[in-house]
Symmetry: C2
Subunit: 330 residues, 2 copies
DNA sequence: TCAAAAGTGTTATCCTTACACCCATGT
DNA sequence: ACATGGGTGTAAGGATAACACTTTTGA
């Protein structure tokens, strides 16, 4: 038996516990919401997680199972994000290396009704990533302060690291003049983590440039690596809406163009050009008219649309209009 | 403690063994090669897999570790693909549900030298997916035979399932007149599996339309679900080369435009337009001239190029030219 | 001279993006 | 009247994809 076969001798493996973490997203008039679990006392919020159980035929079935059982929500779209498995993910006090493996999922639900269960609630995902909401430019100024901190980090770089820090920061946050790249959520979070602008970095004992006090206070943190998982989910969703009709999993049965646009804008964290958005969606054949109109628009009544569900069979690889990444200047 | 917290009571979990499966790819003049492990006797080939061990700090570190230790290959690009965890992935004879979780990775290496180890070797990935090589159209006719089988599957559909089968097949394999979508490797494999045109389906005991004898013989199978993992890897790589400069991980230090084009074509399984490919790569600033030329081209000598490594810092989100998916007709 | 591959020029077409403008309703 | 949002027209600019053609080598 060759060494490659070691995996079959399970005696050599350490104890592994597997849980399924879920970024469960819905859209409200106030923006994208994510399901969070509040823990005892003043501990940070957490993403809901459930165990992988023997009777689950597949991983996704396991996830759907415990989420629906627990929340009653019917998961529309479900997608595996990533498997996280740092050995020190939960540094155990007893020094034993019991590895905790976490498989992250993103799921979309339509219902926003609050749960009876007291420790589960919806929270805007921008509570945890305020710098990702660029719909009104840098309105609260978080971004400006981040850029200042990054500028300091670059300025104080040792000579050989300077170029690297410079390019890493412009890759994640862009040069002024570039179009804001809304997809690089994870890259930005990881840069902030590494610089030490995020409390998790200090909690994990990483060697950071920034002092613990500099950790951004405007943003709320999450338990263990859940903010990283959430960042992964936002990134994936922001990418996906461009080439798959997933936004409609978050829309009511009938909606107007502007409602659809606002939802996309809320997810992407950027503003879109109204006439072009309308035409793009129209030309793709993603929607059809219901015949009725909505009068409570505040202006001229708007035609009510419905998602053309058969498009999923005709052309599943189609999405909703966002400025293409290509339009970024070099 | 709420029910969401069940994951922490690890007593309720079943035994889980985790291994890291790897799709290790290199490029040769004859096409894309993948590392396979031959087992005892006439058993099907397998992807190499290694166990997740306690001392590995991260999952990717674990993978790099055992691959480099075992093969000596230096993994350039490594990316997690997907976590597979069907309960019946290895149906155990003793009826106990020991779940085997497998985390798939794709890795690119430059070296093609064969390994001394006798049970490891390189194989063209088109041995396992002959229908994915459309560089010369449907030269061996595999595709034609598949289309015939699918046509039968559609024709014999019960009335209510017919539309569904029709659209699923055109989504995966396209209508005649459409551009071949090289990215849908997994979708095609899964459709063939479901129809029963692939031996794994019968081995797994799935209820299939096609009889066991119809399972495509021109294609070689792999152990357990390894062909699905390979399909996932090919899909991901074919997608990735379009917006990340990963092809260069497979190129020698100096190469000509045509060599680069042939490599991309081999990976994507389609032919490209030479003048346009050249200009696209040129304009993206992905390569620079070395000054020297290659004379053994069979024609006019070609300028030798090198990959501009600094592009990874300047603009990591850039790739090599392939016909855009958008150019597909609706 | 011819085959084979390296390169260059050019154009039709489509898509994106932006700008300008009119329409219908409530206050 | 005017604010607010709904909705249409159009044109500049850029990228794609196809076609035609010249250049340089070896046999």
């Amino acid at each position: 038996m060759s060494r490659v076969d070691r995996s079959r001798t399970s005696a050599s493996q350490d104890a592994v516990t597997v849980d399924l973490s879920a970024v469960i997203v819905t859209a409200s008039p106030d923006g994208p919401l994510v399901l969070v679990r509040s823990q005892d006392g003043a501990a940070p919020l957490a993403l809901p997680a459930g165990p992988l159980e023997p009777q689950h035929r597949t991983l996704e079935a396991g996830l759907r199972n415990w989420v629906e059982e627990l929340t009653g929500y019917n998961l529309g779209y479900v997608e595996q994000l990533y498997s996280f498995g740092d050995a020190n993910r939960h540094a155990s006090a007893r020094g034993q290396t019991s590895r905790s493996l976490s498989i992250g999922y993103i799921a979309l639900v339509r219902e926003t009704r609050p749960k009876q269960s007291s420790d589960i609630s919806w929270a805007s995902w921008y509570r945890f990533f305020p710098w990702e909401d660029m719909r009104s430019g840098d309105e609260p100024g978080v971004m400006t302060r981040i850029r200042e901190s990054i500028a300091g980090w670059i300025a104080e770089a040792p000579h050989d690291a300077r170029q690297d820090r410079e390019s890493r920061s412009t890759n994640a946050f862009g040069k002024s003049g570039d179009r804001w790249n809304e997809e690089l959520v994870l890259e930005r979070y990881e840069l902030l983590y590494e610089i030490g602008l995020v409390p998790e970095a200090h909690r994990d004992g990483a060697a950071c440039w920034a002092p613990r006090e500099a950790a951004i206070v405007e943003a709320e943190s999450l338990q263990s690596d859940h903010r990283r998982i959430l960042a992964t989910g936002i990134s994936r969703l922001r990418g996906k809406i461009k080439y798959r009709p997933v936004v409609f999993e978050l829309m009511p049965p009938r909606f107007t163009f502007l409602q659809l646009q606002r939802t996309v804008e809320a997810l992407a964290g950027i503003e879109l050009h109204k006439p072009n958005f309308r035409r793009l969606v129209e030309n793709q054949g993603l929607v059809e008219e219901t015949g009725s109109v909505s009068t409570n628009t505040g202006g001229r009544p708007a035609r009510l649309l419905r998602f053309r569900r058969d498009i999923l069979r005709e052309r599943p690889t189609i999405g909703v209009g966002l400025p293409s990444a290509r339009s970024q200047k070099g």
